[in-house]
């Protein structure tokens, strides 16, 4: 029963990161395409809109990694993830980023953006929102 709740939280955290709808149309459809209002938590500012928070995260990532400041560079980096091929669903052309994200955390392939420790894949997905 508890695992079920955890799956639910996983889905919401992906929503929270809000990257999915941004990716639609970029050739990397995501598992979910919804964004929750919780992004405001990133800055502790209830007035901040989800998209504003997402853009700020993406901007913070690109400030630290200027070489990735293009769709091409970010998509290449995401597709270059060791788990990308395994996460790609051939039938639906969807990518299950959860595995990539978990693998990032497992090997501490993380970045700290505005203090939040995120997987590098998450950060790149956020960055795609603004390039």
């Amino acid at each position: 029963m508890f695992r079920g709740k955890t799956n639910a939280s996983r889905r919401r955290l992906l929503q929270y990161l809000g990257a999915t709808s941004v990716l639609t149309g970029l050739g990397i459809p995501a598992v979910q395409a919804a964004r929750g209002p919780e992004l405001a938590h990133v800055f502790g500012d209830s007035q901040a809109s989800p998209s504003a928070s997402l853009r700020a995260l993406g901007e913070a990532y690109l400030r630290e990694h200027p070489a990735e400041r293009s769709k091409h560079a970010l998509l290449s980096a995401i597709k270059g993830h060791p788990a990308f091929a395994a996460c790609r669903k051939e039938t639906t052309q969807e990518t299950d980023y959860r595995t990539m994200i978990q693998e990032d955390f497992a090997v501490e392939n993380t970045v700290a953006l505005h203090g939040w420790v995120l997987s590098r894949t998450e950060a790149r997905l956020a960055a795609l929102a603004i390039v």
């Binding site: 508890f2 695992r3 709740k5 955890t6 799956n7 639910a8 939280s9 996983r10 919401r12 955290l13 929270y16 929750g36 209002p37 919780e38 938590h41 502790g44 209830s46 959860r98 994200i101 978990q102 990032d104 955390f105 497992a106 501490e108 993380t110 700290a112 505005h114 203090g115 939040w116 420790v117 995120l118 997987s119």
Partner: protein
Amino acid sequence: MFIDARATDQKKIESDICIVGAGAAGITLALALSGKNLRIILLESGGFEPEPDTQALYTGANTGVPYYPLESTRLRYFGGTTGHWGGACWPLQAHEFERRDWVPHSGWPITREDLNPYYVKAQETCEVGPFNYDAEHWSEASDQPELPLGDSRLLTSIYQSSAPPTRFGSRYREDIDQAGDIRALLHANVTQIHRDPLSQTVQHVTTRTLEGKTLTVNSRLFVIATGGMENPRLLLLNDIGNQHDQVGRYFMEHIGIPKATLLLAKDVNTLFYKRTSINGTDIRAGLSLRPEVIKKEQILNTWIGFQLKATPQSRLAHSVDTLKSSIMNGDIPDDFVHHLKTVLRSMRQIYRDRDPAESDDDELGGTGELVEIPVGQQSEQSPNPLSRVTLGDQLDALGQRKIVFDWRLTELDYYSIRRTQEITAAEIGKSDLGRMKIPNPKEPEVWQHPQRISELAQPQGAFHHMGTTRMSTDPQHGVVDSDCKVHGTKNLYMAGSSVFPTCGYQNPTLTIVAMAHRLAEHLAAQFPEQEPT
């Protein structure tokens, strides 16, 4: 019995064991030694209530990492600093007694196994539950799951709380009073320890009241149990035990730095991580790194706690337990009205929550589907000879030199906290429970500059003063031996957290009390001719 040193006409007292200081260690020692046909003297600087003039004897200067005023971090009256103790009890872990290659000056000359029987006694003295700190056991007993961390570098760690915290002064005052073999002198400040250098024996101590009345206590054995700052101060003032310049060094505190934040899905079950009462035992769970991870990472130990709001059920259980134990002891707690109100309010809230339309959705402190939880941490400090207590030029009201306190942290201290936060954040992310925000990274160099640490890192202590008369079998590396006897003396012992060579992250009171029970057994064995009464 109690004697007020201000009112007695006695000039000299004879005893078998003289204990200086009536805090957790001193009171435990006196009571553990009672009934063994020994004459026990317990010397206390204060009275039954805090007194400003006595408390002012604790003032001193801070020259290191910014710290609280010294007189605010400890209490100088009967019961000592247990008067503002929070009640947290947990034993040091077995690996924390061992020498760790990456922690300079680490390693105890005794093991956790040596202390286990005394921890069992300490649990009773501190009025907590059974000596069981297995998180899985308490999770099952509470019917609340541990966080599903999977194959993680983290594990759930719990502590027990003395609830309400045992105030040794009020809790054991009658026991001391009724013990026919204990004489407790109040307002008796030890100003001199007279040691014969030839025989290396302390012969007597001189006490003085703030009004100037003096008294001499002769004894066969002496124990100094005045806390982690006053213990070294007394030795330094009397030039005892410092032949290798070890007294006052290695001061350790438990370090907290600005809080991290955890973002969890609201349906992640965190109930076990709230402070909760389970079968009458007050438990709080948090996270720590597995010992093998600490070893691999070569860092110090840290405990991570979630600052969750109490549920109405846990508030109710806590207040009911408090009121019940008070009534059984025939006392009315100071906060009686508070607990009564809590019971009524919690019951009303629990009843109301049965109706979803009236439920309080803010219980976890969040909104929407995610909840933001402040994360606190308590970290071990490494033993550092430059972190120390010395004597200054200022004099107190008794003409004694005041303390100069120089708390210093090392790069290992900073790195360990930072690294633990990073690992915790990664493991929380890996297990899909949430994400973690950690304080801004700071360069380790700032920890070497006290004025900048205050500004940038803001480390906080926990009023835990440890390590200043550390235990070592080698007099060149410590002040007391494995029996807590001061090197270079034959009859002077130290009690309290000043003897800890390393401090773990665990609040020290339970270990202080366990060590006091162990010392009592050792001291009693020095009087084989005495038959128990």
